[in-house]
């Protein structure tokens, strides 16, 4: 669920702009449609291609002030607009981490001073606010972003100012900027293990369903290559426009395909409509299990536990992960934000990212970006998901992949785990079958 999308982004509908209409009433309709399209038409992805731009590193003077007993860091998440619903949870987790670190004596003895900004679900605003945080607030690092379009919009800002961004969401891979640390999963830590699991369960044919934007299309390219190499037949590949509300045809195709399992990269509200239709025609996890990569704890209530119980998800963290660190994290989170709140993978990745930055700064004994980068390789943190280790080459984390099953309690329970942390491989260079994908 990353990429140019919003987990619950309402889909901009196509508008019949330019419809030639003649009567006065229908003419106003055309205006209506155009106005609606304009207001619904959310920003298109700033489709900048990869992070190949050379870092302008040493040439830029940093204005970070470390002389006092505080150091500024920036939190940049959408608190308004369509992404607010998801990004607010990440902000909550970041606030918690900052509070804990400050209570524990800060970083290199300096208390963290948070400069909070709202990205407003707009990639261009993310870029502007990032520039402001770096240049006029002089923060030592920025934490945030969710959609791939927001990350791609911020990337040149961080590279040209030689500043640091910590990005907390799993995404479609194929990127490795020297100025970004990716604390969510890349494809070989979520999608590939998800396929490994389905294969182990004996699936020989799969059906792919996803929302029509960059993440599902990239993910499905990888899945197709994987399936071909491992003798799995892809019996259907369907994309629904963002905000698509009627899945009767797609579910009909799924039924007709006779697939053993479904790999679901749908996003947001579409998941609700898909699972209701899937349940209504009488299918269930026993006949055709669905493995989803965009459904985390907080979405389950909206889909309805009865529609999704027993289905699978692939992530690196669940609230139910059994460890003392996670128990403490969940307890602290609930104590701060309320008993009814749940914790999810992106929240945990954001929480972890702040601690990892602390670890890197302490390893470097400096807040300087180049020093932090030089010291980053091998920095570890005993995170709620388990121990994670920073890879200094591609700035991703080695993390353990977990397949979970959605329980009647609305939480996700681990049913499969990779053998220890998986080294990040954003360009899938270590997989023969993935040749030519990137």
């Amino acid at each position: 669920m990353s990429a140019g999308w919003g987990r619950r982004r309402p889909g901009p509908d196509v508008s019949p702009k330019g419809t030639p209409l003649t009567t006065s009433r229908t003419r106003t309709f055309a205006f209506t449609a155009a106005a609606l399209a304009a207001s619904l038409g959310l920003a298109a992805c700033g489709a900048r291609t990869d992070a190949e731009a050379p870092p302008a590193s040493a040439a830029v003077d940093s204005c970070v002030d470390t002389s006092g007993d505080t150091v500024k860091i920036g939190f940049l998440n959408s608190l308004s607009g369509t992404m607010a619903i998801s990004e607010q949870t990440v902000r909550d987790a970041l606030d918690l981490a900052a509070e804990e670190i400050n209570a524990d004596g800060g970083v290199l003895g300096k208390q963290l001073q948070i400069v909070a900004e709202d990205g407003a679900s707009e990639p261009t605003i993310f870029a502007e606010k990032a520039e402001k945080l770096i240049v006029s607030d002089c923060v030592a690092a920025v934490f945030g972003g969710w959609t791939s379009s927001s990350r791609k919009a911020m990337l040149p800002v961080f590279e040209s100012n030689n500043a640091l961004l910590f990005y907390p969401v799993q995404y479609e891979g194929l990127e490795a900027s020297p100025n970004i640390y990716y604390s969510g999963a890349t494809t070989n830590q979520q999608i590939v293990p998800g396929m490994d699991y389905l294969r182990e369960q004996g699936a020989t044919s799969i059906f792919l369903v996803g929302s029509d934007y960059v993440f599902p299309r990239t993910a499905n390219r990888i899945i197709n290559a994987y399936a071909e190499a491992h003798g799995i037949e892809v019996v259907g590949e369907e994309y629904a426009p963002l905000g698509h509300t009627d899945f009767s045809t797609i579910v009909n195709k799924l039924q007709a395909s006779g697939a053993d399992a479904v790999f679901n990269t749908l996003n947001g509200d579409s998941n609700v409509a898909f699972f209701k239709e899937y349940t209504n025609v009488g299918m269930g996890p026993d006949d055709v299990p669905v493995l989803s990569v965009s459904i985390a704890e907080e979405e389950i209530g909206g889909i309805g536990v009865e529609n999704i119980e027993g289905q699978l998800t692939a992530w690196n963290y669940y609230q139910t992960v059994e460890s003392d660190t996670n128990a403490a994290f969940v307890e602290a989170f609930k104590a701060k934000y309320g008993e009814d709140r749940v914790t999810s993978d992106p929240m945990e990745a954001a929480y972890t990212s702040l601690y990892l930055w602390k670890g890197m700064v302490e390893a470097a004994d400096s807040f300087d970006v180049d020093a932090v980068n030089a010291a980053s390789d091998g920095v570890t943190f005993d995170a709620p998901e388990g121990t994670v280790t920073v890879n200094g080459d591609n700035h991703h984390l080695a993390k353990t992949a977990l397949v979970g099953e959605i329980g009647a309690d609305g939480l996700i329970h681990v049913v499969w785990s990779s053998d220890g942390p998986i080294e990040p491989d954003p360009f899938l260079e270590g997989y023969d079958w993935a040749e030519g994908l990137s």
Binding site: T23, A33, E238, A273, N280, G282, I303
Partner: protein, 294 residues
């Protein structure tokens, strides 16, 4: 099972959803000429009504039936409120209505977000609607049959009201020639209010049944409003018949095209078809002769 037959049914069911979303609009936009961008939010209010009723009445079946009635009232009263406070001041100013109702739509969305929270909520479907029945060798979800039934009942009830009752005569008279209706002693203000109440009430009912199919969140209405206007415009202004034909024609063609191509292509193809159709028949499928000057 026969894919063609199963797609025909899928099309009927898409059409029934489109029809429910568009029926109220056919009345308020089609008959009265009010562009109500908040129509989708009245549907959203209906959906949240189903959620609230289910909190009170635990039995899913009973709460669904109660929600249909209460949803109609909630939608209708919201419509009445909107008509009495804002729209009544701006008849004959369609562009102002457009902007004002769009603003109202945003306000209603935010109210829903503040009251019910931003995450989606869930309404349980009753036991007797779960699963599917086999008709002519096609697996048909019971929820889809139920929605088709609700759509048919709404159309039937509405056409009886319009054709057989004094209120219906007044509405038709007002549509055909507002000034003449007024000089004949019809209170067009009262007629407008009632029409708006009924149209918005049907939006509430549509919202209730949509809880069986999709997500229930503050932005539910946005997903349907454009399609609803499309149905009304393609169907022709001022006639329910047109909306019914257009809804099922669009639903079935969407389902058939989607089966052989993809969901995105189907959506585009349907829009293109409507655009081309309106080139040749700008008044829509069914048109009514009015003697009004507008």
């Amino acid at each position: 099972m026969d894919p063609l037959l199963s797609q025909l049914f899928a099309g009927l069911s898409v059409g029934s959803v489109l029809l429910l979303a568009a029926l109220g609009l056919a009345l308020t936009f089609g008959q009265m000429g009010v562009i109500n961008m908040a129509h989708g939010e009245f549907m959203m209010a209906g959906a949240y009504t189903a959620f609230v009723v289910q909190l009170v009445v635990a039995d899913a079946g009973l709460s669904l039936m109660m929600s249909l009635g209460i949803g109609f009232l909630v939608g209708g009263l919201l419509g009445l409120l909107l008509e009495a406070t804002l729209l009544s001041r701006m008849y004959h100013r369609p562009l102002d209505t457009l902007l004002v109702t769009w603003g109202v739509a945003l306000i209603l969305q935010q109210v829903a977000r503040d009251v019910f929270g931003a995450p989606n909520v869930d309404v349980r479907a009753p036991e007797w609607l779960s699963g599917a029945v086999t008709l002519l060798g096609v697996q048909v979800p019971k929820t889809r049959l139920f929605i088709l039934l609700v759509a048919v009942v709404c159309v039937a009830a509405l056409s009886i009201v319009l054709k057989q009752t004094p209120l219906g005569r007044r509405i038709r008279a007002t549509v055909t020639n507002r000034d003449l209706a007024e000089t004949s002693g019809i209170s067009t203000r009262a007629t407008d209010r009632l029409t708006f109440f009924i149209g918005s009430g049907i939006a509430g009912v549509a919202g209730v049944v949509l809880t069986l199919l999709g997500s229930i969140g503050p932005t539910l209405g946005r997903n349907y409003i454009v399609d609803a206007f499309l149905v009304v415009v393609a169907g022709g202004i001022g006639q329910l018949k047109g909306a019914v034909i257009a809804a099922f024609a669009l639903g079935i063609s969407q389902a058939l095209i989607e089966f052989s191509t993809t969901a995105s292509i189907a959506k585009v193809a349907v829009f293109v078809a409507v655009v081309v159709f309106l080139q040749f028949r700008p008044q829509g499928i069914v048109s009514v002769r009015t003697r009004s000057l507008a």
